[in-house]
């Protein structure tokens, strides 16, 4: 495979704990270019031209977001979202494991672009080892004056702090994340105002996903136009895909956006595991849709218009040997547990779906349950406060409508 590699290029080739290895491979030259040869406006223009869209799920234009905050005169913050609790998803963890300096370089450039003097890395509380890696990498890069006061001798200043989450899926949602740093319950806030207007401690804040940020050095070095030529037109670039379940070669693959699920399974992951019979795939974690064999030609893109929102990039291939009732319990139990409880439709709806899933498994399902499913799914989809509730019924609905086993 001769695919262009942006995120994973140096994985396995450099020692992630040695900054010299990253520098010898051309690392931190994008930061030097930004500091000495560019200004924030020019950098934002390049990122806008690249077409880069956020990899954290919503697919918002990264250049536009950076631009909104860069324009404001107040104190500002930049936050790298490394909460990553979507089930089946661990791409941001792998970025830290394999090349933490790429992420740091992206964080530093992004924070300087928006004019933030303080950046936070909000890391999943279970990622203790990754926190240590980042602490080491931060110490090394500070010593080289890549952050701190007078970066590389320039007038730029930046402080970076790691903030460790405490086990709550909803804290990946940007307003909940901000609440959590502020010492509150990690419940989402009403938007607008968006964090770009009123974020951390009431100040304009950019929250970007770690994988999004890891694309920034490449764009600064190679230019937005070159980036925009990779992958799909509406959401260019590459994406990390995590293939698991009934495939021959489960693993992590960086591929251009716009690739089909079928190609990922057949050409990257070695096809369906021998001896297993394909049933469906789930795209993008617990929130994600189920695709049947005939739908595998769906292109993996970001944005509202696309066929199959690729979400976090995780792809779980499920074979006919899997007990679907176990999976229903798995999904519903996840949302029941992770619902923050702020709004009733989500708190109650996720709980009732979980109870129904258990009755399915135990063969105790009634006609009333079957009717209730439709009501609950509708309520989740239409009346919940944040996207967690909205997507809590996605997989369940696909089981009902596509697998037709209930």
């Amino acid at each position: 495979m001769k695919d262009i590699k942006i995120i994973t290029e140096h994985w396995g080739k450099i020692n992630p704990l040695k900054i010299e290895d990253y520098i010898n491979a051309g690392g931190y030259t994008a930061l030097e270019k930004f500091v000495f040869k560019m200004n924030p406006e020019k950098a934002i223009e390049e990122i806008k031209n690249s077409g880069l869209r956020g990899r954290g799920g919503a697919g918002f234009s990264t250049g536009d977001k950076l631009g909104m905050v860069a324009n404001q005169k107040e104190k500002k913050y930049f936050i790298c979202n490394l909460e990553e609790s979507e089930p089946g998803t661990y791409k941001d963890r792998l970025i830290v494991d394999n090349n933490p300096h790429l992420l740091l370089e992206g964080i530093i450039i992004s924070a300087l672009i928006v004019g933030a003097q303080k950046a936070y890395i909000y890391i999943n509380g279970n990622y203790e080892k990754q926190k240590e890696i980042l602490e080491k990498a931060l110490a090394q890069s500070r010593e080289k004056k890549y952050w701190g006061e007078n970066i590389l001798g320039s007038a730029y200043n930046l402080e970076i702090e790691i903030f460790s989450g405490a086990g709550a899926y909803i804290c990946g949602e940007e307003t909940a994340l901000i609440n959590s740093i502020e010492g509150n319950r990690g419940e989402p806030k009403i938007r607008p105002p968006f964090p770009t207007e009123m974020g951390l401690f009431g100040k304009p804040t950019v929250v970007d996903n770690a994988e999004t940020i890891a694309n920034i050095p490449w764009i600064i070095s190679n230019g937005g136009k070159k980036y925009s030529a990779i992958g799909s037109k509406n959401s260019p670039g590459t994406k990390i895909f995590l293939l698991n379940g009934a495939v021959e070669k489960p693993g992590t693959y960086e591929a251009p956006t716009g690739i089909t699920v079928k190609k990922l399974i057949d050409e990257y992951a070695g096809g369906i595991k021998r001896g297993k019979e394909f049933w469906f795939v789930q795209i993008g974690g617990a929130c994600g849709k189920l695709l049947l064999e005939k739908e595998l030609k769906a292109k993996m893109e970001f944005g509202k218009e696309c066929e199959c929102p690729l979400g976090s990039g995780s792809i779980l291939v499920v074979d006919k040997g899997v007990n679907i009732y176990d999976l229903l319990i798995s999904w519903t139990d996840f949302f029941r547990r992770e619902s923050c409880g702020k709004c009733v439709p989500c708190r109650e709806g996720t709980f009732r779906l979980w109870e129904i899933a258990k009755r399915f498994r135990d063969g105790e399902i009634s006609a009333r349950d079957k009717e209730a499913i439709q009501d609950i799914l509708w309520t989740l989809d239409n009346t919940t406060f944040c996207p967690l509730g909205k997507f809590a019924g996605t997989a369940f609905r696909d089981v009902v409508e596509k697998l037709k086993i209930l």
Partner: protein, 149 residues
């Protein structure tokens, strides 16, 4: 080593809002849970109400507000681990320890099903008193639990 007290733990933190969660995490990790007494001291130090401290503490999985059992077994039941048979591991633990998942009958054992830890490629994943075990099988399970019994 000097014995950690709540006072010398909180003194490691500046009394700023952004240190409330880290301080709660630390107290819970050191003492096993955040007691009412701890919450009172925290509230005074950070200049917020006691109920606010409890509201925050009770929200997060990693912060406990009650005394924990001697042996806490947690098993991931998110989709990737489910496909890797985590439910059969859950039943096996239930049989072995004679407990039901989610219900604590004694202060000795508790079994909980938990959300994805991002180790999905190496599932099923089990956590015993904070220590993570990957690719758990019915047979490896027995030897793991023996260490704690």
């Amino acid at each position: 080593m000097i014995k950690k007290t709540i006072q010398n733990i909180i003194l490691e933190f500046e009394p700023e809002a952004k240190n409330i969660l880290p301080a709660l995490k630390k107290i819970s990790a050191v003492f096993g849970y955040v007691s009412e007494e701890d919450a009172k001291i925290m509230a005074e130090y950070f200049g917020v109400s006691e109920s606010k401290i409890f509201e925050t503490a009770s929200f997060y999985d990693e912060i406990k507000t009650e005394k924990q059992p001697d042996i806490l077994v947690q098993i991931c039941n998110s989709a990737n681990c489910t496909v890797n048979n985590s439910f059969s591991i859950i039943s096996e633990v239930e049989n072995l320890l004679k407990i039901k998942s989610g219900r604590s009958v004694s202060l000795k054992f508790k079994l909980e099903e938990i959300s994805c830890l991002g180790r999905c490629a190496d599932g099923p994943v089990m956590v015993v008193n904070g220590k993570i075990y990957e690719r758990v099988t019915k047979s490896s399970l027995h030897s793991i639990l023996e260490e704690y019994l």
